[in-house]
């Protein structure tokens, strides 16, 4: 356990809500609005944490445990993720499998909590969430496989810092393909626009938001913070794939990666402003396209 690896966790905990702020500000600029403050997500979290929680009599401990398990699983996944050319806090061979399934556990707990409420809308949202994540998971693993193949190592902490300028000269196109596939998965897994609309308030069309309708107060804050951290983790993954920062000193690496992550936030905002949401039936096609990118990145040998 080294202090340098703690820097990323600190940055993520601190800046993840700002990522959402940047996404929303980009959307506001596109729409010609002034938009909410950049720090709105922090204000929301502070407000929710001050409130008390209300629990329906029909719910059981599963409903109360959901947000806690969800947030802690996402927090644990952050300890596996390298950032800024540095290794992660915890690393071992094949740690990306644990990373994927910690995020899977977070989703499972949210889904169980949603089912526990007994609302038909939440059950529908849970069903959709699980369907789409089942489609996204193989693509995520194909991306990890492609990264492992082109860097020759099997741990996040060695994989992402191994991407240097020379990796780009011989496997650049593959890295771009992996990053595109990961970006598509990021949008799908974090319920961003082509798949789900984070701003919609029509239960019939919501996916992620509908599952958390009955959570309030600190529980809802946990869920919001957890999803912000998850979005940050995925973006750090995309940025780590794209930035050739292997061998760069710590401060430069961290500054470059953080800047890259916020550029990605602007890109997410731009996608959300320029694209319409896909019909639910078109989502498998979207994921098949992402799979095509990932498989192609996996098979090209340069």
């Amino acid at each position: 356990m080294d202090a340098e690896a703690l820097i990323h966790i600190g940055i993520a905990l601190l800046l993840a809500p700002l990522f959402l702020g940047v996404v929303n500000r980009t959307k506001a600029v596109f729409a010609g609005r002034q938009g909410r403050p950049l720090l709105q997500a922090y204000f929301d979290l502070a407000k929710l944490l001050r409130k008390g929680a209300v629990y329906s009599r029909t719910t059981t401990w599963v409903f109360r445990a959901g947000p806690v398990i969800g947030l802690s699983a996402v927090l644990m996944s952050l300890t596996l993720l390298p950032f800024g050319g540095q290794g992660a806090l915890i690393s071992f061979k094949g740690d990306f499998v644990l990373f994927a399934y910690l995020l899977g556990l977070a989703r499972f707990s949210t889904v169980m909590a949603a089912m526990d409420v007994g609302s038909s809308f939440e059950g529908m949202g849970a069903s959709r969430e699980v369907t789409f994540s089942a489609l996204a998971e193989p693509v995520l693993f194909l991306c990890f496989l492609a990264l492992a193949r082109h860097t020759g190592v099997f741990s996040f902490s060695e994989m992402l810092p191994a991407i240097s300028y020379s990796t780009w000269t011989h496997a650049g196109p593959a890295l771009v393909l992996v990053a595109s596939a990961l970006f598509l998965v990021t949008l799908a897994e974090n319920s961003r626009i082509p798949i789900d609309d984070p701003n919609t308030h029509l239960e019939l069309t919501m996916i992620h938001e509908v599952m958390v309708l009955d959570h309030g107060g600190p529980d809802f804050a946990f869920i919001q913070y957890g999803s912000a951290l998850k979005l940050w983790a995925f973006s750090a993954l995309v940025v780590g794939t794209l930035l050739p920062i292997g061998g760069i000193d710590l401060p430069t690496g961290v500054v470059l990666s953080t800047a890259g992550t916020f550029i990605l936030a602007v890109m997410v905002g731009a996608v959300e402003s320029t694209m319409a949401r896909l019909r639910l039936l078109r989502v498998p096609q979207y994921m098949a396209g992402a799979a095509a990118f990932a498989v192609f990145a996996l098979v090209i040998a340069l």
Partner: protein
């Protein structure tokens, strides 16, 4: 240098997936136009060490015909026949993409087995040429609209073009020009035929042609 050739070739595969995934005919026409321009770029990149007037002639002909003339002509046909999207293809779009991936893997296997005379510019070139041809043939058999089938035919021809540009050297340029001319005539004939078919039957769905009676 090699990385730019590789990137261009990879871009051709991406346009193949675009052709497989889009249901809008206008998007298909755009995809095939993009492929035409990419072929021009590929030609320039592979011959960048000796850019003779023959190479330039072929670049201008390829981009002019595949990138500009065909798309404009197809677009005009599209406006005339007043059909904007492929309705109910035989094979759905998600499955089409998966079949495209399978075709790519098959082409990689073929590419690794095929003995070639002389050096080629990139190890990806032959697999991508095959996969572009397969994409074209797949579009022809899996879609019902006659215009999509013409686009499939163009994609298959683009695959042959990639093969010719990367595997066979400068002597093939006159052959390529000859093929371009043939394709040009074929596409114009097909375009006019589609227009007349549409006028006669009020549809370009090839399924209906099988029930023709006098």
């Amino acid at each position: 240098m090699g990385i730019w050739v590789d990137s261009t070739i990879i871009f051709i595969v991406l346009t193949n997936f675009m052709l497989l995934a889009s249901s809008r005919l206008a998007a298909l026409v755009r995809g095939v136009a993009l492929q035409g321009f990419t072929l021009g770029a590929l030609l320039l990149l592979t011959h960048s060490d000796n850019l003779t007037y023959r190479v330039w002639l072929l670049v201008v002909a390829a981009v002019g015909i595949k990138g500009i003339a065909f798309p404009m002509f197809l677009k005009r046909t599209l406006n005339n026949i007043n059909v904007h999207r492929e309705v109910e293809p035989y094979i759905g779009y998600s499955l089409s993409i998966l079949i495209g991936i399978a075709g790519l893997l098959l082409s990689l296997w073929i590419g690794s087995r095929l003995p070639l005379p002389g050096p080629i510019v990139s190890t990806l070139a032959i697999p991508v040429a095959f996969s572009t041809m397969l994409t074209g043939f797949f579009l022809i058999i899996s879609r019902k609209n006659a215009l999509t089938q013409v686009i499939g035919y163009l994609a298959a021809e683009n695959g042959i073009f990639v093969f010719g540009v990367t595997a066979v050297h400068s002597s093939s340029i006159w052959v390529e020009l000859g093929i371009l001319l043939d394709v040009l005539v074929a596409v114009f004939v097909m375009g006019i035929a589609i227009h007349h078919i549409n006028k006669e039957f009020e549809s370009t769905d090839v399924d209906r042609f099988s029930s023709l009676k006098d």
